[in-house]
């Protein structure tokens, strides 16, 4: 399918560019020649019905698929400004995951203290200086709007936090390694409306520092938090454009049918 990609009038700086990206789960082709830009310090939302390939596409960005045999990429995802191809076998997936973090659907804190959860990525990198770690943990927790709630109990187990707090902790953990990009895979689907609101607020905040790519089933959420929207269907990118355009005047009838609830 030929995608309809509408670039904004003032094109922002590029953070990544997918080019003719195919992805196979064994023999099954889950992504079909996806080409689209990801703009720096913007939120790009991936929407589409279940099975459309949006999570598959998201996971390509930090090489999650490498963890399972039989998965195969074709095409490229170029990360800018250094122009490396994330998918190239020569590129170390661990390094990619340091630069591009991920936050999952359900909060998944490690069975450790709040402090250790946030410091984990830095420790894996070999960071041992306590004062540096302290500063980074505070900075990440502040960035995730959680500092004030947990600053007096950093040694408590993270699993004792509420669902919304746990999710913000996961965002803090993702922020701690100073990533360039954060991937969110339906980050609020397990949260109540208030916690959802605070995560959405946070997404809009952190885009000042990092580029955000988010998968969501909630169309209103995509409308609220994103700057750009990509509508996918059956492994194809149907339409990419500015959020306001997509929600007011999409170019493709398929997109319009989906966002107005006429999708059957």
């Amino acid at each position: 399918m030929v995608s309809t990609v509408t670039l904004p009038k003032n094109v922002p700086e590029l953070k990544a560019q997918a080019r003719e990206l195919d992805f196979y789960y064994g023999a099954y082709k889950a992504l079909k020649s996806i080409s689209m830009p990801i703009y720096a310090n913007k939120v790009t939302a991936l929407i589409g019905p279940s099975g459309c390939g949006k999570s598959t596409f998201l996971r390509c960005f930090n090489r999650m698929h490498d963890l399972y045999p039989g998965h195969r990429y074709d095409g490229s995802i170029q990360l800018l400004p250094d122009e490396i191809d994330i998918l190239s076998p020569e590129v170390d997936p661990i390094e990619v995951r340091m630069r591009i973090s991920m936050v999952f659907q359900k909060p998944n804190p490690f069975p450790k203290s709040i402090y250790e959860n946030v410091a984990y990525g830095l420790r894996v990198r070999g960071e041992r200086r306590r004062s540096f770690l302290d500063d980074k943990v505070e900075e990440a927790l502040r960035g995730a709007a959680l500092w004030n709630e947990v600053k007096d109990r950093l040694d408590e187990l993270a699993v004792n936090l509420s669902g919304g707090q746990q999710q913000r902790l996961c965002i803090a953990r993702a922020l701690a390694t100073d990533p360039e990009m954060i991937l969110f895979d339906e980050p609020t689907s397990a949260l109540d409306p208030i916690a959802t609101g605070s995560i959405e607020e946070l997404v809009s905040e952190i885009k000042r520092k990092v580029t955000v790519l988010i998968v969501t089933h909630n169309m209103q959420q995509a409308a609220r938090v994103s700057d750009f929207v990509a509508y996918m269907y059956l492994g194809d990118l149907v339409e990419f454009g500015e959020t306001k355009e997509i929600f007011m005047k999409p170019k493709r009838k398929e997109t319009e049918d989906y966002i107005t609830g006429r999708f059957g």
């Binding site: 169309m219 409308a223 007011m248 999409p250 107005t260 609830g261 006429r262």
Partner: protein, 235 residues
């Protein structure tokens, strides 16, 4: 709306609100026709009817507005559904103004009757009839194009708005001639100027309706846009 939503209830709400807009449109269309008839016939009863209908028009406007807010709050419409609802909000405001113009005309008739002028003076009321026929035809076509969501028909309405304007200009010249020939007609001719202007405004409102219909279907706001650009949108 041709395609069905997953929610048939939402479909029912949208088609319900469209029917009420058409009901309101039909009502104001007949109001304008009656108002001008009351003038050409100098019939106070018809004028009273027009004023009575105005209450219904106002009530419909408020009710439809309430329905609009309700749908927006509960359904969070997007794309063409959202454009439809925004356009309906504009359309009913215009229709209500058409009703106001009809009521203005009816009040002029009541005043003319109260001072007993028609029996003493000859006035060009039948020229007003022609202008009004043009304007109500425009309004009817605009409402038709709304019912069918037909942007081509809407474009025709925009194109023909000039005819009403030209008719208004002609009528102005004629009224000025009447006033110069017989200064006793000045006061009632000024009343007729107001009526002619009211009818001309009905034509303008029909044009606004047509622009709203193009917005619904094409997603482009063609208000304050040169005709050539509007034609490009329809193409």
């Amino acid at each position: 709306m041709t395609d069905k939503h997953l929610s048939t209830q939402f479909d029912a709400e949208l088609s319900g609100i469209c029917s009420r807009v058409l009901e309101m449109g039909g009502l104001v269309e007949s109001q304008v026709a009656k108002a001008v008839l009351s003038l050409t016939q100098f019939d106070g009863d018809i004028a009273t009817q027009v004023l009575r209908d105005e209450e219904r028009v106002n009530r419909l406007e408020v009710e439809i507005d309430g329905d609009l807010s309700g749908i927006i709050a509960l359904r969070q419409p997007t794309a063409r559904d959202l454009r439809l609802l925004i356009a309906i909000s504009r359309i009913i405001a215009n229709l209500e103004r058409v009703g106001d113009e009809a009521a203005r005309t009816a009040r002029v008739v009541q005043r003319l009757l109260a001072i007993g002028l028609p029996t003493r003076l000859r006035l060009p009321v039948h020229d007003l009839q022609f202008e009004s026929d043009l304007a109500t035809e425009q309004l009817r076509k605009a409402l038709d194009s709304f019912a069918r969501l037909d942007p081509v028909a809407a474009l025709e309405v925009i194109k023909h708005d000039q005819q009403v304007d030209q008719e208004f200009d002609g009528l102005m010249r004629k009224l000025i001639t009447y006033m110069m020939e017989d200064p006793r007609t000045i006061s009632s001719c000024i009343d007729l100027v107001f009526v002619a202007k009211a009818v001309e405004r009905v034509g303008d409102h029909a044009k606004n309706l047509a622009e709203a219909i193009i917005y619904i279907v094409k997603g482009t706001d063609v208000r304050h846009t040169p005709m050539s650009a509007v034609e490009d949108v329809i193409r």
